[in-house]
Amino acid sequence: MFFRIYKYSLLRSTRDRLMVFWNLVFPIILGSLFQVAFGNYTEKEVLFHQIPVAYVKEEGADGNFTELLEILETDSELIQVQTVGKDKAEQLLRDGEVEGIYYNKTAEETDGQAEGIYDNEPGKETDGQEELGITLVVQEQDMNQSILNSILEQYERTCATLLTIGKEYPEGIQEAAKLLEEDTKYLKENSMGAASDNGILDYFYSLIAMNCLMGATTGLLCSVEFKADLSALAARRVVAGHSRFQVLWPDLAAKITLQFIYIVFTACYLMFVLHVPLGEQWGFLLLTIFVGSLLGIFLGFFIGVAGRMQYSMKEALCILIMMVSSFFSGLMMDGMQRLVEQYAPVFARINPASLIVKSFYSLNIYETYGRYLQNLGTMLVLILVLAAGSFAMVRRERYASI
């Protein structure tokens, strides 16, 4: 029986033209529009835009920092260093050619010199530790500048110790660079806007997230056909002589299958037709899409079984949640995630669309799976909460009124 209901459920969904349009055609159209809007780009540009920085090194200054910057430029491709004279550096900063200047001076001279450089500029200066004599001057404080700053801090914090024993451990600097790289990725991910850097890819991730959440309307349909006080159809199925769930499972399974297929299709279209570099870890991409589909369907199911609102209201609610959630994950605006992270951190952490976007994102930029699994885990917890909530609400089998 399971399979027959499953089959019919699939058949019904594929014949529902409106559903097919919103779940399959619409994302593809939107994706294509994004593509038209953002044009071509290479993966590198999309993912990591190297931060341009000027480097002013005095004679006899600490060479380890130079080495670190080199590693960060060539291996990690995090920054783009221009080693120049002081005047040239200031010029570059004023023109916005670089995001900051690292001054590396011989230790004794440090004091006083770094200050007052921009007396009449809105610039901000971050003092390095005096013994090291390294300072950073930036024009304004934002994402990239904080990365530059954290490079300096990391260098001071970690490198200093490593370097004191640097002779015995020449790999010290390598390690520091590695640490920095991870740190920076974290910074970038959590301020995702990382605007200029990966904003474009964000749009596509958000698009997929939206596609996942569209499953809510499908989940809603499932609930309507499940609860006898919501539709005559449900009543008819309930009186048919099986546990209600025996009819629900195949229905849900079919909806999830289809949602998954729709999104995989969208993703394939983005990757192979539009050449959007969503990532190459197929297994995990699929897993994310699957969990995303689950999340969407259960969200809708939950809304369906909760409360006694009219169907049209519930449907509107599903769509509203989908839109709001996607909006705050950056579907329509660059840098949205960063704002949310800043002003509503809790929301940012449970916003379903953000979670989906972050999962994709963390897959793409980290070599380890910690962050990814954390995001995926949060999604699973959300699904569990929604499912448990739903089933708590449908425990009753009789109704006060139909």
Partner: protein
């Protein structure tokens, strides 16, 4: 007395303030077509939803096939076929697929199901429309599909809630015949309607519901014998005078006379020769009259007399 298929005892169901069922008692026996007759809002649908364990009720008990009916009485439910008042079919499935879907909830064997689905389509006259989607069906055909979905699995008890609303007389007759056929094949049937003609035509026993109470029940003959009226005589008479009306009222068995727009309506209790007596009176007084016809009481009269109001506007029925 056959075995009881459905037994309702002292059933009380409230919707907040409103008492929808007020100590309702009903018993349906094997092999019966049991009619539940009542005007809009009398509680027919509510009673059925209680039988099917879809609704909570405040008091009383419902037994089906001798066992307390519960939401998880799957064994019992499997032997019931339900045609609900609201059409419940899938928009995205064709006629045939719809019947197969619902039949499949009961019948697992593929070959048997195929046969049953085919029979249900013949039964409801939908063979030509098997590839149609519900949206393309007329209101009457849709009703027939609704019925087919409910009875395809050949249940032992069929519950139908106003299945013939909005169905044309031809289709309706076909449906009624079909129901009688299902009954002959052994199914007990509970049939609700506010069309008394239908109920009179097919039901072997009838309960009349009003405001959630069963005001009378029995075979139609029993019901009709319950009331005073034995015969209703209509006459076209011009210019009848009040004293003459009073005289007519004095005739034997006559208990009520109404005169309006040249139409005289005389209600008689019992008696075999009422019409002869009345015509004798008119002849002896040399009062001219036009058409004369006599009617036996209908369920409408039963309802009218018991509740003091009309069951429904009889002009509605074809």
């Amino acid at each position: 007395m056959g075995k009881k298929v459905v037994e309702i005892e002292n059933l009380v169901k409230r919707y907040k303030e409103l008492i929808a069922l007020d100590h309702l008692n009903l018993a349906v026996e094997e092999g019966e077509i049991f009619g539940l007759l009542g005007p809009n809002g009398s509680g027919k649908t509510t009673a059925i939803n209680c039988i099917l364990a879809l609704l909570y009720f405040d008091k009383g008990s419902v037994k089906v096939f001798g066992k307390e009916m519960q939401p998880d009485s799957y064994e019992i439910k499997r032997q019931i076929g339900v045609v609900l008042q609201n059409v419940a079919v899938f928009e995205e499935l064709t006629v045939q697929e719809n019947i197969d879907y619902f039949c499949g909830l009961y019948i697992q064997d593929k070959m048997v199901r195929k046969k049953y689905v085919e029979e249900a389509m013949v039964f409801s006259g939908l063979e030509e429309f098997r590839k149609f989607y519900p949206k393309k069906l007329s209101g009457g055909l849709l009703r027939r599909l609704n019925i087919a979905c409910g009875i395809a699995h050949k249940p032992k008890l069929i519950i139908m809630d106003e299945p013939t609303v909005a169905v044309d007389p031809q289709s309706r007759n076909r449906i009624l015949e079909g129901i009688q056929m299902l009954n002959k094949e052994g199914a007990a049937i509970i049939y609700t309607s506010h069309y008394m003609e239908e109920v009179e035509q097919i039901c072997s026993r009838i309960a009349i519901l009003d405001k959630g109470r069963c005001v009378a029940s029995g075979t139609k003959e029993e019901l009709k014998s319950m009331i005073k009226m034995g015969e209703k005589i209509h006459m076209e008479v011009m210019n009848l005078l009040p004293f003459q009306i009073a005289e007519i009222k004095e005739l034997r068995h006559v208990y009520q006379v109404e005169y309006q727009d040249g139409m005289l309506e005389i209600c008689c209790s019992g008696g075999k020769h009422n019409l002869v007596h009345i015509l004798d009176y008119f002849n002896s007084r040399e009062i001219g009259f036009g058409r004369v016809y006599s009617e036996l009481p209908t369920l409408n009269d039963v309802f009218l007399e018991i509740t003091g109001k009309k069951l429904r506007d009889s002009a509605e029925t074809a």
